[in-house]
């Protein structure tokens, strides 16, 4: 039987799939990106409905509860995404800075 927490998680996962597809339709995501996002959230949906699928996996990594494994995986994912977002932001900041500075010097009066 599906419990309340699973329902919330399912709603969230489906919302995220919807958001990903929406951004793809707006041409803000590439094909490879939409495939990655939809696959990730589909996997999340499957795990939410059948959490026991992860039991063997959890045992392999000596994690007692499936929920703990999901939390650990979630943390790893979030930390890696924050890291990559930070690097991208820095790159964009640098490009923006160079562009504004060059333009300012060109228009010096």
């Amino acid at each position: 039987m599906i419990i309340g927490l699973q329902i919330i998680a399912l709603i969230f996962s489906f919302s995220m799939i919807y958001v990903a597809v929406l951004h793809f339709k707006r041409k803000e995501l590439r094909k490879s990106e939409i495939i990655a996002w939809v696959s990730m959230w589909t996997a999340a949906v499957i795990i939410i409905i059948f959490p026991k699928l992860l039991r063997t996996f959890a045992n392999t990594f000596l994690v007692t509860r499936v929920f703990d494994l999901m939390v650990i995986c979630g943390f790893v994912l979030v930390i890696s995404m924050v890291g990559s977002a930070y690097i991208r932001t820095k790159r964009i900041e640098k490009k923006l800075e160079d562009m504004i500075r060059k333009e300012a010097i060109k228009k010096a009066k």
Binding site: E93, E97, I100, R101, E103, A104, I105, K107, A108, K109
Partner: protein, 222 residues
């Protein structure tokens, strides 16, 4: 020696006119770098005689470090041999300029650092923050400068090539000292007066925390 004065500023309509007037008697080329100001400073300077003054405008606010770099890049492209940085909030006294010029021309220093004295009206909290920054730099890099955060400084073209900074914000003063130390550039300090017109501007506690992280980063990367 061809010396340019660079004044980075942001929303300084109250003080920029006084800064320009103060500098006018020295007949040195001045580069004003507007770092994305949104006030009406242009109306205030419209009626001034702007001989020898170049205005460079950033479209958006990038930070003091970026504005200083824009000014320096421009000045050295225009044939400057050295530049003197002054803050745009009229905190620095133009009467101290001859000390920098003397140190650059006659003493052959590549970097001249202004040093505010406690008796010249530096608020206690800023004085303590400065001393803390000096101690941190000694501990992390073995470099001692008595006033790390003073924006009144001069640098030659040769030194600029070696110390061109990456910081866009207030971290620039600290990064500059770190790079000067790393490149073993010949420096000297000259005492300068500082008048604090605006207590809400300048380096905040949050900026200081950010700079602390930057210092750790520079220790690992530079």
């Amino acid at each position: 020696m061809h010396i340019f004065i660079i004044v980075p500023f942001y929303n300084e309509q109250k003080h920029i006119v006084d800064v320009i007037k103060g500098l006018s008697k020295y007949k040195l080329p001045v580069v004003l770098v507007d770092d994305g100001s949104v006030d009406n400073y242009e109306l205030k300077i419209k009626n001034l005689k702007l001989n020898n003054i170049t205005l460079i405008k950033h479209k958006i606010n990038l930070g003091k470090g970026a504005a200083m770099k824009t000014g320096a890049d421009y000045a050295f492209d225009q044939g400057a041999d050295a530049v003197i940085f002054m803050d745009g909030d009229n905190q620095h006294n133009p009467n101290d300029l001859p000390k920098f010029i003397e140190a650059l021309k006659n003493n052959g220093h590549d970097v001249v650092l202004g040093t505010r004295n406690f008796t010249y009206g530096v608020p206690l909290i800023r004085f303590l923050g400065n001393k803390f920054a000096s101690i941190i730099l000694v501990l992390f890099f073995g470099i001692y400068v008595s006033d790390v955060l003073c924006g009144f400084k001069a640098i030659t073209k040769k030194a600029y090539k070696n110390v061109r900074w990456e910081s866009t914000g207030y971290g620039v003063e600290t990064e500059l000292i770190v790079r000067i130390g790393k490149n073993k550039i010949k420096t000297c300090e000259v005492p300068v007066k500082a008048i604090y017109h605006d207590k809400v501007k300048g380096v905040t506690i949050l900026d200081a925390f950010g700079i602390m992280f930057e210092i750790i980063k520079w220790r690992l990367t530079l």
